[in-house]
Subunit: 157 residues, 4 copies
């Protein structure tokens, strides 16, 4: 069974709520979704997953420091994530607050790993976003994300 | 008197409403704001302005084709826009719809011109954004943009 | 047989040389690579291809105007490119001349189409780049790109 | 006398050599350039400087984790860096290795601080880049950067 890692960092709980919805959506797919705080996850375990979804609050228009630290340490498995499916989501504090650039920053790190990065034609294009507490739309997009990536990796592997 | 060009492209009228609010804000500054559709503006006139503000709808996560065409033609004044102040704004059709990456795409072209590009600490960080018709917050941020850039170029020159 | 479209815009011939190398690499895969100038390609034909690779010279840190115009017109097939594989390459005039941001701008448009965008762990991470005339390294990376995407779409479909 | 902070993170010494050249260039301006490892600099001292230049190695296409950590901690002076001049530089390990996106990631954080971010029309457009050890061109662009920002802040204040 294909596996998807849903990794997140959260201080206020907003990104965590989004991560839980992504995990929920993953349960509606034929893959197995694994939810973890990024601090509790060993980057050396990443190669076991066919899909990797990372959520971060928007800190200064980019992924939070601890998420970058995690990705820097993922260098230990550099070359082993090639062609895996990647996606990202983020919550921010204000409209136009750097939430898209945060998602894109995560996706760029995934591209450096040689991954395939997923966009969306019918919703938030780079991944689900939320301004402060995730509303119904944000949570729906998170569930869709988990389900879509879960189905995508199942079909690919 | 310092001059600021407020240039925009608009099909639905949403970006136009934002542009008009930017122009309005510029009138509250000590500079002179000049509003024009980008199709009606000659890129060779850009060096006459101390500030350049460009608005575009979000088309595929980037500035609209006609705006890029305008900027490509601005090569005729390459080197003459050094240290001028630049800013941008955008309207898009859906939440997370590429509106930040659209603004950033405009700002990147301005950086290639050697300009100084303005961010904002207390509102939409890369510039005003709107989802569909600009609401009160969006219009307020547009007026602030016009006023702030107008005051900035007056003090700089 | 899976098909990959290699579309490019070129004035000086540098991006064209890269495109030809991408096409060459595609011939070493089990897919069929189709090379075309972007001006000669109908965006409504995009859904026939499993992979889409787009090359553009770097104009003001972004894709060239005619490439953006093409992508704006691709709205006619919006929703039909979901999960197709996308990649990009670019040539620029000067070191640090906006060539990465050009590739990223193309990849962002592909994400808005819901595509899967490919990064690389062992070479230019976002896609092949060239400063002026493509050298041996650039041409090799272009051939690898054609071959890798060709093999990827064959395995996916 | 206007002051410019030149802050950098470096493991291999490549970014450090660039930072030293930036500092050298700053000495040819009428401002005072202050060079420091980012680990040794208190983000709460940032408001004392009229210009802020940050250098980072390219780690996964973005600023290094410790640089992001520094910028996250700069939230303590949020709102106090408005209209200061910002610039960035980076060294990476491979051609097309994410060095432009690294510089842009730093500049995006500066925009969130409300700063004015500087581009360049006649060299590496977003800031000086180096692939591995900085060569003559890279070092020259670093010296130019220090001198240009030094002169810019002197004239602005």
């Amino acid at each position: 069974m294909a596996k998807v890692a849903v990794l997140y960092y959260s201080k206020t709980g907003n990104t965590e709520k989004m991560a839980q919805a992504v995990k929920q959506g993953g349960e509606n797919s034929d893959s197995q979704a694994h939810l973890a705080r990024i601090e509790d996850f060993n980057p050396e375990d990443l190669p076991e997953y066919e899909g990797i979804i990372i959520g971060s609050p928007t800190y200064y228009g980019l992924l939070a420091g601890p998420v970058k630290d995690f990705l820097d340490r993922s260098i230990k498995v550099h070359g082993q994530l090639k062609n895996k499916i990647g996606a990202a989501f983020s919550s921010c504090a204000t409209t136009g607050g750097g939430v898209e650039s945060t998602i894109l920053s995560i996706l760029e790190t995934m591209m450096v790993h040689g991954m395939l990065v997923k966009g969306f034609s019918d919703r938030g294009h780079y991944g689900p976003i939320s301004v402060e507490e995730p509303d119904k739309r944000a949570l729906k997009e998170c569930r869709q994300l988990g389900e879509d990536i879960g189905n995508l990796v199942r079909n690919n592997y």
